[in-house]
Protein backbone atom coordinates (compact mmCIF):
# COMPACT_ATOMS: atom_id res chain seq x y z
CA UNK A 1 0.00 0.00 0.00
CA UNK A 2 1.32 3.46 -0.88
CA UNK A 3 1.61 5.93 1.97
CA UNK A 4 -1.09 8.57 2.44
CA UNK A 5 -2.07 11.45 4.67
CA UNK A 6 -4.75 10.27 7.15
CA UNK A 7 -7.31 12.86 8.25
CA UNK A 8 -10.15 12.24 10.64
CA UNK A 9 -13.15 14.47 9.89
CA UNK A 10 -15.36 15.66 12.75
CA UNK A 11 -17.95 17.44 10.59
CA UNK A 12 -19.35 16.95 7.07
CA UNK A 13 -18.09 20.40 6.11
CA UNK A 14 -14.59 19.53 7.29
CA UNK A 15 -14.67 16.29 5.29
CA UNK A 16 -15.66 17.92 2.00
CA UNK A 17 -13.20 20.79 2.49
CA UNK A 18 -10.25 18.50 3.20
CA UNK A 19 -11.03 16.28 0.20
CA UNK A 20 -11.89 18.93 -2.41
CA UNK A 21 -9.40 19.35 -5.24
CA UNK A 22 -7.12 16.56 -4.05
CA UNK A 23 -6.46 12.94 -4.95
CA UNK A 24 -8.49 12.05 -1.86
CA UNK A 25 -10.75 9.19 -0.80
CA UNK A 26 -13.30 9.17 1.98
CA UNK A 27 -13.07 6.03 4.08
CA UNK A 28 -16.15 4.64 5.86
CA UNK A 29 -16.25 0.83 6.14
CA UNK A 30 -13.16 0.60 3.94
CA UNK A 31 -13.95 -2.97 2.87
CA UNK A 32 -13.56 -2.22 -0.84
CA UNK A 33 -11.22 0.78 -0.67
CA UNK A 34 -8.54 -0.92 1.44
CA UNK A 35 -8.72 -4.03 -0.72
CA UNK A 36 -7.99 -1.84 -3.76
CA UNK A 37 -5.31 0.18 -1.95
CA UNK A 38 -3.45 -3.00 -0.94
CA UNK A 39 -3.29 -3.96 -4.60
CA UNK A 40 -2.37 -0.37 -5.51
CA UNK A 41 -5.30 -0.20 -7.90
CA UNK A 42 -6.12 2.94 -5.93
CA UNK A 43 -3.47 5.13 -4.28
CA UNK A 44 -5.07 8.23 -2.77
CA UNK A 45 -2.77 10.93 -1.38
CA UNK A 46 -5.29 11.75 1.34
CA UNK A 47 -7.66 9.37 3.14
CA UNK A 48 -10.43 11.18 5.00
CA UNK A 49 -11.95 9.05 7.77
CA UNK A 50 -15.66 9.94 7.96
CA UNK A 51 -16.64 7.36 10.58
CA UNK A 52 -17.11 9.99 13.31
CA UNK A 53 -19.70 11.95 11.31
CA UNK A 54 -23.28 11.97 12.50
CA UNK A 55 -24.66 10.04 9.52
CA UNK A 56 -25.72 6.73 11.02
CA UNK A 57 -29.44 7.13 11.65
CA UNK A 58 -32.44 5.73 9.78
CA UNK A 59 -35.20 8.31 10.11
CA UNK A 60 -38.81 8.58 9.03
CA UNK A 61 -39.33 11.47 6.60
CA UNK A 62 -42.33 13.83 6.40
CA UNK A 63 -43.59 12.18 3.22
CA UNK A 64 -43.73 8.76 4.90
CA UNK A 65 -40.44 7.53 3.51
CA UNK A 66 -37.06 6.86 5.10
CA UNK A 67 -33.81 8.80 5.20
CA UNK A 68 -30.92 6.37 5.54
CA UNK A 69 -27.69 7.96 6.76
CA UNK A 70 -24.65 7.27 4.59
CA UNK A 71 -22.82 5.55 7.47
CA UNK A 72 -25.60 3.09 8.32
CA UNK A 73 -23.99 -0.36 8.02
CA UNK A 74 -25.53 -2.80 5.54
CA UNK A 75 -26.36 -5.25 8.35
CA UNK A 76 -28.19 -2.64 10.44
CA UNK A 77 -30.17 -1.48 7.39
CA UNK A 78 -31.14 -5.03 6.42
CA UNK A 79 -32.31 -5.74 9.99
CA UNK A 80 -34.23 -2.49 10.51
CA UNK A 81 -37.84 -3.37 11.36
CA UNK A 82 -39.27 -0.71 8.99
CA UNK A 83 -37.10 -1.87 6.12
CA UNK A 84 -37.98 -5.53 6.69
CA UNK A 85 -41.67 -4.75 6.76
CA UNK A 86 -42.07 -2.07 4.07
CA UNK A 87 -38.99 -2.37 1.86
CA UNK A 88 -38.40 -6.12 1.88
CA UNK A 89 -36.65 -5.97 -1.51
CA UNK A 90 -33.91 -3.88 0.11
CA UNK A 91 -33.43 -6.24 3.07
CA UNK A 92 -33.25 -9.22 0.73
CA UNK A 93 -30.77 -7.51 -1.60
CA UNK A 94 -28.50 -6.46 1.27
CA UNK A 95 -28.61 -9.95 2.79
CA UNK A 96 -27.70 -11.48 -0.57
CA UNK A 97 -24.48 -9.48 -0.72
CA UNK A 98 -21.04 -10.19 0.75
CA UNK A 99 -20.71 -11.92 4.16
CA UNK A 100 -21.88 -11.24 7.72
CA UNK A 101 -18.54 -9.67 8.61
CA UNK A 102 -18.47 -7.41 5.56
CA UNK A 103 -22.08 -6.29 6.00
CA UNK A 104 -21.26 -5.16 9.56
CA UNK A 105 -18.59 -2.83 8.18
CA UNK A 106 -19.85 -1.85 4.72
CA UNK A 107 -21.94 1.33 4.73
CA UNK A 108 -24.86 2.67 2.70
CA UNK A 109 -22.78 5.37 0.99
CA UNK A 110 -19.80 3.09 0.45
CA UNK A 111 -21.92 0.33 -1.05
CA UNK A 112 -23.18 2.77 -3.72
CA UNK A 113 -19.59 3.72 -4.54
CA UNK A 114 -17.99 0.27 -4.57
CA UNK A 115 -15.97 -0.51 -7.66
CA UNK A 116 -16.42 -3.22 -10.26
CA UNK A 117 -15.05 -6.71 -9.64
CA UNK A 118 -13.78 -6.97 -13.25
CA UNK A 119 -10.65 -9.14 -12.96
CA UNK A 120 -8.65 -6.80 -15.19
CA UNK A 121 -9.50 -3.71 -13.14
CA UNK A 122 -7.92 -5.53 -10.17
CA UNK A 123 -4.86 -6.75 -12.09
CA UNK A 124 -2.50 -3.79 -12.40
CA UNK A 125 -0.45 -5.69 -15.02
CA UNK A 126 -3.41 -5.68 -17.46
CA UNK A 127 -4.64 -2.83 -19.64
CA UNK A 128 -7.86 -1.32 -18.23
CA UNK A 129 -9.52 1.91 -19.36
CA UNK A 130 -11.28 2.33 -16.04
CA UNK A 131 -8.06 2.09 -13.98
CA UNK A 132 -5.64 3.59 -16.54
CA UNK A 133 -7.61 5.54 -19.18
CA UNK A 134 -6.41 4.95 -22.73
CA UNK A 135 -4.74 1.59 -22.14
CA UNK A 136 -7.59 -0.52 -23.56
CA UNK A 137 -10.15 -3.03 -22.27
CA UNK A 138 -8.75 -6.49 -21.57
CA UNK A 139 -12.17 -7.99 -20.89
CA UNK A 140 -13.50 -7.48 -24.42
CA UNK A 141 -11.34 -10.29 -25.79
CA UNK A 142 -10.58 -11.91 -22.43
CA UNK A 143 -12.48 -13.57 -19.60
CA UNK A 144 -15.83 -11.84 -19.42
CA UNK A 145 -18.21 -14.15 -17.60
CA UNK A 146 -19.09 -11.43 -15.05
CA UNK A 147 -19.41 -8.67 -17.61
CA UNK A 148 -22.10 -6.41 -19.03
CA UNK A 149 -24.59 -7.25 -21.77
CA UNK A 150 -26.34 -3.86 -21.71
CA UNK A 151 -25.04 -0.28 -21.47
CA UNK A 152 -21.37 -1.12 -22.02
CA UNK A 153 -19.06 0.49 -24.60
CA UNK A 154 -16.05 -0.66 -26.58
CA UNK A 155 -13.97 1.05 -23.89
CA UNK A 156 -15.33 -0.87 -20.90
CA UNK A 157 -17.71 -3.77 -20.30
CA UNK A 158 -17.42 -3.91 -16.50
CA UNK A 159 -20.52 -4.34 -14.35
CA UNK A 160 -21.55 -2.48 -11.21
CA UNK A 161 -21.39 -5.04 -8.38
CA UNK A 162 -23.92 -3.68 -5.85
CA UNK A 163 -27.06 -5.59 -4.90
CA UNK A 164 -28.23 -2.82 -2.55
CA UNK A 165 -28.27 -0.18 -5.29
CA UNK A 166 -30.37 -2.43 -7.55
CA UNK A 167 -33.05 -2.72 -4.87
CA UNK A 168 -32.89 0.98 -4.04
CA UNK A 169 -33.41 1.84 -7.70
CA UNK A 170 -36.49 -0.41 -7.85
CA UNK A 171 -37.74 1.56 -4.83
CA UNK A 172 -36.98 4.85 -6.69
CA UNK A 173 -34.50 6.12 -4.13
CA UNK A 174 -32.65 9.42 -4.31
CA UNK A 175 -29.09 10.14 -3.22
CA UNK A 176 -28.44 13.11 -0.92
CA UNK A 177 -25.10 14.78 -1.64
CA UNK A 178 -23.22 17.44 0.35
CA UNK A 179 -21.56 19.83 -2.08
CA UNK A 180 -18.32 21.60 -1.28
CA UNK A 181 -20.21 24.92 -0.99
CA UNK A 182 -22.13 23.48 1.97
CA UNK A 183 -25.42 23.02 0.08
CA UNK A 184 -27.07 19.64 -0.33
CA UNK A 185 -28.65 18.35 -3.51
CA UNK A 186 -30.66 15.22 -4.25
CA UNK A 187 -30.10 13.08 -7.31
CA UNK A 188 -32.45 10.23 -8.27
CA UNK A 189 -30.43 7.01 -8.05
CA UNK A 190 -31.27 6.24 -11.68
CA UNK A 191 -29.40 9.42 -12.72
CA UNK A 192 -26.54 9.01 -10.23
CA UNK A 193 -24.37 6.60 -12.23
CA UNK A 194 -22.73 7.34 -15.60
CA UNK A 195 -22.45 4.91 -18.49
CA UNK A 196 -18.85 4.20 -19.52
CA UNK A 197 -18.92 5.66 -23.06
CA UNK A 198 -15.41 6.93 -23.74
CA UNK A 199 -14.75 7.78 -20.04
CA UNK A 200 -15.22 4.59 -17.99
CA UNK A 201 -13.07 6.09 -15.21
CA UNK A 202 -15.99 8.40 -14.38
CA UNK A 203 -18.66 6.31 -12.67
CA UNK A 204 -21.06 8.77 -11.04
CA UNK A 205 -22.17 12.39 -10.65
CA UNK A 206 -19.97 13.18 -7.63
CA UNK A 207 -17.57 16.09 -8.08
CA UNK A 208 -14.26 16.32 -6.23
CA UNK A 209 -14.84 16.63 -2.48
CA UNK A 210 -18.56 15.86 -2.62
CA UNK A 211 -19.88 13.42 -0.04
CA UNK A 212 -22.96 11.21 -0.04
CA UNK A 213 -24.77 12.00 3.21
CA UNK A 214 -27.92 9.86 2.87
CA UNK A 215 -30.23 7.85 0.66
CA UNK A 216 -33.94 8.71 0.66
CA UNK A 217 -36.65 6.12 0.06
CA UNK A 218 -40.14 7.32 -0.90
CA UNK A 219 -43.19 6.16 1.06
CA UNK A 220 -43.72 2.40 0.70
CA UNK A 221 -45.98 1.02 -2.04
CA UNK A 222 -48.99 -0.52 -0.26
CA UNK A 223 -49.78 -4.20 -0.69
CA UNK A 224 -46.79 -4.59 -2.94
CA UNK A 225 -45.01 -7.74 -4.01
CA UNK A 226 -41.30 -7.23 -3.41
CA UNK A 227 -38.52 -9.61 -4.36
CA UNK A 228 -34.80 -9.70 -5.05
CA UNK A 229 -33.91 -12.71 -7.19
CA UNK A 230 -30.14 -13.17 -7.49
CA UNK A 231 -28.51 -15.77 -9.72
CA UNK A 232 -24.87 -16.52 -8.97
CA UNK A 233 -22.17 -19.18 -9.21
CA UNK A 234 -22.33 -20.09 -5.50
CA UNK A 235 -25.24 -20.26 -3.07
CA UNK A 236 -23.73 -17.52 -0.90
CA UNK A 237 -21.03 -14.86 -0.82
CA UNK A 238 -20.78 -14.30 -4.60
CA UNK A 239 -21.57 -11.46 -6.95
CA UNK A 240 -24.66 -11.59 -9.16
CA UNK A 241 -24.49 -13.00 -12.66
CA UNK A 242 -27.95 -11.51 -13.04
CA UNK A 243 -30.38 -10.16 -10.50
CA UNK A 244 -33.88 -8.75 -10.62
CA UNK A 245 -35.37 -6.42 -8.00
CA UNK A 246 -39.12 -6.01 -8.23
CA UNK A 247 -41.69 -3.85 -6.47
CA UNK A 248 -45.12 -4.40 -8.02
CA UNK A 249 -48.72 -3.82 -7.07
CA UNK A 250 -51.84 -5.28 -8.65
CA UNK A 251 -55.23 -3.56 -8.41
CA UNK A 252 -58.38 -4.86 -10.15
CA UNK A 253 -56.38 -7.50 -11.95
CA UNK A 254 -53.84 -5.18 -13.59
CA UNK A 255 -50.42 -3.87 -12.63
CA UNK A 256 -50.95 -0.54 -10.84
CA UNK A 257 -47.27 -0.11 -9.89
CA UNK A 258 -44.17 -1.54 -11.52
CA UNK A 259 -40.65 -0.87 -10.22
CA UNK A 260 -37.99 -3.10 -11.79
CA UNK A 261 -34.24 -2.95 -11.59
CA UNK A 262 -31.52 -5.31 -12.78
CA UNK A 263 -28.06 -6.18 -11.46
CA UNK A 264 -25.01 -7.98 -12.80
CA UNK A 265 -25.73 -7.07 -16.41
CA UNK A 266 -24.71 -3.43 -16.88
CA UNK A 267 -22.20 -0.78 -15.80
CA UNK A 268 -24.83 0.55 -13.43
CA UNK A 269 -27.95 -0.81 -11.74
CA UNK A 270 -30.15 -1.06 -14.83
CA UNK A 271 -33.62 0.36 -15.22
CA UNK A 272 -35.74 0.41 -18.38
CA UNK A 273 -38.77 2.66 -18.04
CA UNK A 274 -40.21 1.38 -21.35
CA UNK A 275 -40.35 -2.13 -19.92
CA UNK A 276 -42.12 -0.82 -16.81
CA UNK A 277 -44.57 1.13 -19.02
CA UNK A 278 -45.31 -2.02 -21.06
CA UNK A 279 -46.44 -3.80 -17.91
CA UNK A 280 -48.27 -0.96 -16.17
CA UNK A 281 -52.05 -1.18 -16.49
CA UNK A 282 -51.85 -4.60 -18.13
CA UNK A 283 -53.26 -7.93 -17.02
CA UNK A 284 -50.39 -10.22 -15.97
CA UNK A 285 -49.72 -13.07 -18.38
CA UNK A 286 -46.76 -15.20 -19.41
CA UNK A 287 -46.96 -13.74 -22.91
CA UNK A 288 -46.74 -10.20 -21.55
CA UNK A 289 -43.76 -11.09 -19.36
CA UNK A 290 -41.88 -12.61 -22.30
CA UNK A 291 -42.58 -9.56 -24.44
CA UNK A 292 -41.31 -7.31 -21.64
CA UNK A 293 -38.14 -9.41 -21.25
CA UNK A 294 -37.56 -9.33 -25.02
CA UNK A 295 -37.89 -5.54 -24.98
CA UNK A 296 -35.42 -5.31 -22.09
CA UNK A 297 -32.92 -7.44 -23.98
CA UNK A 298 -33.49 -5.94 -27.45
CA UNK A 299 -30.07 -4.31 -27.57
CA UNK A 300 -28.27 -6.78 -25.29
CA UNK A 301 -24.93 -7.99 -26.57
CA UNK A 302 -22.76 -10.80 -25.23
CA UNK A 303 -18.97 -10.93 -25.49
CA UNK A 304 -18.47 -14.70 -25.51
CA UNK A 305 -18.07 -15.59 -21.86
CA UNK A 306 -21.24 -13.79 -20.83
CA UNK A 307 -23.58 -14.73 -23.72
CA UNK A 308 -25.48 -16.95 -21.30
CA UNK A 309 -26.67 -13.90 -19.38
CA UNK A 310 -29.12 -12.97 -22.15
CA UNK A 311 -31.38 -16.04 -21.85
CA UNK A 312 -30.67 -16.20 -18.10
CA UNK A 313 -31.94 -12.68 -17.50
CA UNK A 314 -35.04 -13.35 -19.60
CA UNK A 315 -35.88 -16.42 -17.54
CA UNK A 316 -35.14 -14.65 -14.26
CA UNK A 317 -37.41 -11.72 -15.11
CA UNK A 318 -40.25 -13.98 -16.31
CA UNK A 319 -39.95 -16.05 -13.11
CA UNK A 320 -40.09 -12.96 -10.87
CA UNK A 321 -43.05 -11.45 -12.74
CA UNK A 322 -44.91 -14.79 -12.59
CA UNK A 323 -44.45 -14.80 -8.83
CA UNK A 324 -45.61 -11.17 -8.69
CA UNK A 325 -48.76 -12.12 -10.62
CA UNK A 326 -49.54 -14.95 -8.21
CA UNK A 327 -49.01 -12.63 -5.24
CA UNK A 328 -52.23 -10.97 -6.33
CA UNK A 329 -53.16 -7.90 -4.30
CA UNK A 330 -56.89 -7.17 -4.29
CA UNK A 331 -57.49 -8.84 -7.64
Amino acid sequence: MKSFDYQRAETVEQATTVAAGKNASFIAGGTNLLDLMKLEVLSPDVVVDINRLDLNAIEQTDDGGLRIGALVPNSKLAADARVRQHYAVLSRALLSGASGQLRNKATTGGNLLQRTRCYYFYDTASPCNKRSPGTGCSALQGQNRLHAIIGASEHCIATHPSDMAVAMQALRATVEIEQTDGHRRQVPLQDFYCLPGTTPQRENQLESGELITAVHLPAPVEDSYQAYRKVRDRASYAFALTSVAAVTQIRSGTFSHVGLSFGGIAPRPWRDTEVEAMLLGQTPSRQLFEKAADRLLEEAQGHGGNDFKIPLLKRTLVAVLSEAANFGGDA
Partner: protein
Amino acid sequence: MQTLNLQVNGETHELSVDVRTTLLDALRQHLHLNGTKKGCDHGQCGACTVLVNGKRINSCLTLAVMHDGDEITTIEGLGGSDTLSPMQKAFVKHDGFQCGYCTPGQICSATAMLDEIKEGWPSYVSVSLVGEPELTSDEIAERMSGNLCRCSAYPNIVDAIIEVGDKS
Protein backbone atom coordinates in the same frame (compact mmCIF):
# COMPACT_ATOMS: atom_id res chain seq x y z
CA MET B 1 2.83 7.57 12.60
CA GLN B 2 -0.31 7.97 14.61
CA THR B 3 -1.07 7.14 18.22
CA LEU B 4 -4.31 5.49 19.26
CA ASN B 5 -5.96 3.61 22.09
CA LEU B 6 -7.43 0.17 21.64
CA GLN B 7 -9.40 -1.67 24.31
CA VAL B 8 -8.41 -5.22 23.52
CA ASN B 9 -9.95 -8.04 25.54
CA GLY B 10 -10.63 -5.62 28.37
CA GLU B 11 -7.18 -4.05 28.49
CA THR B 12 -6.29 -0.59 27.22
CA HIS B 13 -3.31 -0.37 24.89
CA GLU B 14 -1.73 2.77 23.55
CA LEU B 15 -0.16 2.16 20.17
CA SER B 16 1.89 4.17 17.74
CA VAL B 17 1.39 2.88 14.21
CA ASP B 18 1.99 3.73 10.56
CA VAL B 19 -1.47 4.79 9.35
CA ARG B 20 -1.41 1.95 6.78
CA THR B 21 -1.45 -0.67 9.57
CA THR B 22 -4.56 -2.81 9.45
CA LEU B 23 -6.30 -3.76 12.68
CA LEU B 24 -5.14 -7.32 12.01
CA ASP B 25 -1.47 -6.31 11.81
CA ALA B 26 -1.82 -4.11 14.90
CA LEU B 27 -3.17 -7.10 16.87
CA ARG B 28 -0.57 -9.56 15.63
CA GLN B 29 2.56 -7.47 15.24
CA HIS B 30 2.14 -4.70 17.81
CA LEU B 31 0.18 -6.50 20.54
CA HIS B 32 1.51 -9.99 19.74
CA LEU B 33 -1.98 -11.50 19.89
CA ASN B 34 -1.31 -14.19 17.32
CA GLY B 35 -4.60 -16.04 17.71
CA THR B 36 -6.17 -13.89 15.01
CA LYS B 37 -4.95 -15.28 11.70
CA LYS B 38 -3.99 -13.72 8.39
CA GLY B 39 -5.37 -15.83 5.54
CA CYS B 40 -6.15 -14.02 2.31
CA ASP B 41 -5.70 -10.47 3.70
CA HIS B 42 -8.56 -9.38 1.38
CA GLY B 43 -11.73 -10.11 3.34
CA GLN B 44 -12.53 -13.33 1.53
CA CYS B 45 -11.58 -16.09 3.99
CA GLY B 46 -12.67 -14.80 7.42
CA ALA B 47 -9.58 -16.12 9.29
CA CYS B 48 -9.01 -12.60 10.67
CA THR B 49 -12.51 -12.23 12.15
CA VAL B 50 -12.62 -10.31 15.45
CA LEU B 51 -15.38 -8.52 17.35
CA VAL B 52 -15.40 -4.72 17.34
CA ASN B 53 -17.87 -3.27 19.83
CA GLY B 54 -19.51 -6.71 19.82
CA LYS B 55 -19.92 -7.01 16.03
CA ARG B 56 -17.88 -9.42 13.88
CA ILE B 57 -15.72 -7.86 11.18
CA ASN B 58 -12.73 -8.74 8.99
CA SER B 59 -9.77 -7.16 10.80
CA CYS B 60 -7.68 -7.26 7.59
CA LEU B 61 -9.95 -4.76 5.82
CA THR B 62 -9.89 -1.96 8.34
CA LEU B 63 -7.19 0.41 9.54
CA ALA B 64 -6.15 0.39 13.18
CA VAL B 65 -6.40 4.20 13.27
CA MET B 66 -10.11 3.96 12.43
CA HIS B 67 -10.66 2.13 15.74
CA ASP B 68 -9.25 4.61 18.26
CA GLY B 69 -11.24 3.96 21.46
CA ASP B 70 -13.06 0.88 20.15
CA GLU B 71 -13.51 -2.35 22.12
CA ILE B 72 -11.92 -5.30 20.37
CA THR B 73 -12.42 -8.94 21.31
CA THR B 74 -10.10 -11.56 19.82
CA ILE B 75 -10.07 -15.32 20.27
CA GLU B 76 -7.78 -14.81 23.28
CA GLY B 77 -10.52 -12.68 24.86
CA LEU B 78 -13.22 -15.31 24.41
CA GLY B 79 -11.38 -17.85 26.53
CA GLY B 80 -8.00 -19.45 27.33
CA SER B 81 -6.83 -23.07 27.62
CA ASP B 82 -8.38 -23.43 31.10
CA THR B 83 -11.32 -21.12 30.54
CA LEU B 84 -12.77 -22.19 27.21
CA SER B 85 -15.92 -20.40 26.08
CA PRO B 86 -18.99 -22.53 25.26
CA MET B 87 -18.24 -22.17 21.53
CA GLN B 88 -14.60 -23.18 21.99
CA LYS B 89 -15.69 -26.22 24.01
CA ALA B 90 -18.23 -27.20 21.36
CA PHE B 91 -15.61 -26.96 18.58
CA VAL B 92 -13.39 -29.34 20.59
CA LYS B 93 -16.26 -31.71 21.34
CA HIS B 94 -17.46 -31.86 17.72
CA ASP B 95 -13.98 -31.81 16.17
CA GLY B 96 -14.83 -28.61 14.26
CA PHE B 97 -11.42 -28.37 12.58
CA GLN B 98 -8.52 -30.24 11.07
CA CYS B 99 -5.50 -27.95 10.68
CA GLY B 100 -7.03 -25.29 12.93
CA TYR B 101 -5.88 -22.23 10.98
CA CYS B 102 -9.38 -20.91 10.30
CA THR B 103 -10.65 -21.87 13.77
CA PRO B 104 -10.13 -18.59 15.70
CA GLY B 105 -12.00 -16.75 12.94
CA GLN B 106 -14.72 -19.41 12.84
CA ILE B 107 -15.23 -19.22 16.62
CA CYS B 108 -15.26 -15.41 16.79
CA SER B 109 -17.64 -15.31 13.82
CA ALA B 110 -19.95 -18.01 15.22
CA THR B 111 -20.06 -16.35 18.66
CA ALA B 112 -21.16 -13.01 17.19
CA MET B 113 -23.45 -14.70 14.69
CA LEU B 114 -25.51 -16.27 17.49
CA ASP B 115 -25.91 -12.78 18.99
CA GLU B 116 -27.19 -11.56 15.61
CA ILE B 117 -29.79 -14.35 15.64
CA LYS B 118 -30.75 -13.41 19.21
CA GLU B 119 -31.31 -9.84 18.01
CA GLY B 120 -33.67 -11.27 15.37
CA TRP B 121 -31.54 -10.42 12.33
CA PRO B 122 -32.81 -12.30 9.27
CA SER B 123 -30.57 -13.90 6.65
CA TYR B 124 -30.93 -14.34 2.90
CA VAL B 125 -32.31 -17.86 3.42
CA SER B 126 -34.80 -16.91 6.15
CA VAL B 127 -38.29 -17.73 4.84
CA SER B 128 -39.76 -14.73 6.63
CA LEU B 129 -37.99 -11.41 7.14
CA VAL B 130 -40.13 -10.55 10.16
CA GLY B 131 -40.36 -13.87 12.01
CA GLU B 132 -37.86 -15.17 14.52
CA PRO B 133 -34.86 -16.74 12.77
CA GLU B 134 -34.40 -20.49 13.15
CA LEU B 135 -31.11 -22.22 13.86
CA THR B 136 -31.07 -24.67 10.95
CA SER B 137 -27.97 -25.91 9.15
CA ASP B 138 -29.03 -23.89 6.06
CA GLU B 139 -29.20 -20.74 8.17
CA ILE B 140 -25.79 -21.45 9.69
CA ALA B 141 -24.20 -22.17 6.31
CA GLU B 142 -25.55 -18.88 4.95
CA ARG B 143 -24.60 -16.83 7.99
CA MET B 144 -21.11 -18.36 8.19
CA SER B 145 -20.34 -18.09 4.45
CA GLY B 146 -17.68 -15.47 5.18
CA ASN B 147 -15.53 -18.09 6.96
CA LEU B 148 -13.80 -20.59 4.73
CA CYS B 149 -12.34 -23.88 5.99
CA ARG B 150 -9.86 -25.31 3.51
CA CYS B 151 -9.96 -28.68 5.33
CA SER B 152 -13.75 -28.59 4.90
CA ALA B 153 -14.69 -29.34 8.50
CA TYR B 154 -18.02 -27.65 7.81
CA PRO B 155 -20.39 -30.40 9.04
CA ASN B 156 -18.68 -30.49 12.43
CA ILE B 157 -18.51 -26.70 12.64
CA VAL B 158 -22.27 -26.58 12.01
CA ASP B 159 -22.86 -29.23 14.71
CA ALA B 160 -20.79 -27.23 17.22
CA ILE B 161 -22.69 -24.03 16.49
CA ILE B 162 -26.09 -25.74 16.70
CA GLU B 163 -25.20 -27.17 20.11
CA VAL B 164 -24.24 -23.77 21.53
CA GLY B 165 -27.21 -22.06 19.87
CA ASP B 166 -29.68 -24.61 21.22
CA LYS B 167 -28.34 -24.20 24.77
CA SER B 168 -28.62 -20.41 24.72
